[in-house]
């Protein structure tokens, strides 16, 4: 079995777990008393750089990085992410830390609350606001979900560095084709069930929960909406429902296999009015045909009386063969698995907010 490094950001700290020789070992909680809304792994470096977005209720937000696979964490003296003073806005927290494309090895993006995109050109140490998106005329009309208003998804196009796609709750999907100078909404076909019937397909305002990039087709994306699961084959130009075959179309997370085109995974919940797993069974569903069909993935997750759920960034995968999937629950369990079954890595954690994993050489 592949050796693995697993990062789990929780409501009150960061858990690192390592799988060696098939056995998991967890480390004492790092960054205690901080909410770790985002973790990241930049595998473009000889030694992967790890990231953690840590927010103290008292002492505010910061971004830390580690160049020794989590043994130590550092941050700059000056705030790594801060709004320019003329905007009279303060950072609440970063919800996403996303390494850029392979051909821009020092570019790292961060999505934040309040909803803004920041870009780093020094490997994720210092970030600057992408001002054209902040100045987008739609921004004053963007809403906020229960957890706040944030850009939670950043997808650099895998081939074209001028293209970046982001998603926020609530506001929907936006994309740029010119390196961030201009942005346009990209929500055609995505419904907003929280609006009156005749207004349910607006240009923007949807509560998109997560978007994932297909492994093989750079134009193909998968999307988990606040009610609805979608695919786009033209990088967000139009979205079509792929929810048929799922036991529920509500959910927060969606993951695409980075090695196999057409393979994606979701964690379905019944609906926005019943945010429980169908039949209170903890289940991952997967597709191998880009959403035409879905099936349960693996055994070993709780079979009954599961009243928890998986948040948007608490579901992830490695890039191993076979693929390893990793999920954390709001009730503080951490699972690793896939088609061959699941095992519990940790329990009794604070709510799990963010998960990332990588195979160790």
């Amino acid at each position: 079995m592949t050796d693995t490094l697993l990062l789990a950001g929780t409501r009150k700290g960061l858990l690192l777990a390592r799988r060696r020789g098939g056995s998991w070992q967890t480390e004492p909680l790092a960054l205690p008393m901080t909410a770790v809304y985002a973790v990241g792994i930049d595998t473009r470096r000889p030694t992967p750089r790890l990231f953690a977005s840590a927010t103290s209720e008292h002492w505010g937000p910061t971004i830390l990085h580690s160049d020794d696979l989590g043994r130590s964490w550092t941050e700059p003296d000056q705030a790594p992410i801060a709004f320019p003073k003329d905007l009279d806005t303060a950072l609440s927290r970063a919800w996403q830390i996303q390494p850029g494309p392979a051909n821009e090895p020092d570019v790292v993006y961060a999505g934040t609350e309040p909803a803004a995109l920041f870009r780093s050109e020094d490997g994720g140490v210092n970030f600057e606001l992408v001002r054209p998106l902040w100045e987008h005329p739609h921004r004053p009309q963007w809403g906020a979900g229960f957890g706040g208003q944030a850009i939670h998804t950043v997808i650099p196009h895998p081939v074209d560095p001028q293209r970046v796609l982001i998603a926020l709750s609530s506001g929907g999907v936006y994309r740029t084709y010119d390196g961030g100078k201009s942005w346009a909404a990209a929500n055609t076909g995505i419904k907003a069930t929280f609006l009156p019937e005749e207004q349910r397909y607006p240009e923007f305002g949807q509560c998109v929960h997560k978007v994932a990039q297909d492994a093989e087709d750079p134009e193909r994306l998968y999307l988990q909406n606040h009610n609805g699961v979608y695919r786009s084959d033209d990088w967000g130009g139009k979205w079509v429902s792929i929810a048929d075959g799922l036991p529920g179309e509500f959910g927060f997370a969606i993951v695409a296999d980075p090695n196999h085109g057409g393979h994606a995974y979701v964690f379905p919940l019944v609906s926005d009015y019943s945010r429980f797993t169908p039949d209170f069974r903890c289940r991952v569903y997967g597709t191998t045909d880009a959403g035409e069909t879905w099936a349960e993935v693996g055994a070993g997750l709780p079979e009954s009386e599961f009243y928890s759920l998986v948040l948007r960034d608490a579901f992830s995968c490695d890039a191993a063969e076979p693929l390893g999937l990793y999920l954390g629950t709001r009730s503080g369990e951490l699972y690793a698995g896939g088609a061959d079954g699941w095992e519990r890595v940790a329990a009794n954690l604070p709510d799990v907010l963010s998960v990332r994993a990588m195979a160790l050489a």
Partner: protein, 102 residues
């Protein structure tokens, strides 16, 4: 003039392990007298001295964070003039975590 910041243990790591930090501010009569002899002025000085500490106390707009309490010689600055509260020579400024979180 000199004032002393007293820090909670959670912030000592950003002050070289110390729980007390001395901040030199402009003497009376200097050009910078008015802005510096306030809590805001002291924290502006601190930002140059220990920026990783200062950004735990204030956000990027120089607003004292919501769940941070600041006392000047035992008085809560929220009951005085907030960040514009005057700071006398030799004052002790306590930085304390407010009630928050779960």
């Amino acid at each position: 003039m000199t004032v002393t910041l007293q820090l909670p243990g959670a912030l000592a790591a950003y002050a070289g392990g110390r729980r007390e930090v001395t901040v030199e501010v402009a003497p009376p009569g200097s050009v910078a007298e008015t802005p510096e002899q306030t809590v805001a002025g002291v924290l502006d000085r601190l930002a140059g001295q220990l920026p990783a500490l200062e950004r735990r106390i204030r956000d990027e707009n120089a607003a004292i964070r919501r769940h941070v309490n600041v006392y000047v010689d035992g008085a809560d600055i929220r009951t005085l003039s907030g960040a514009q509260t005057a700071v006398p020579d030799g004052a002790v400024i306590d930085v304390i975590a407010a009630v928050s979180g779960g």
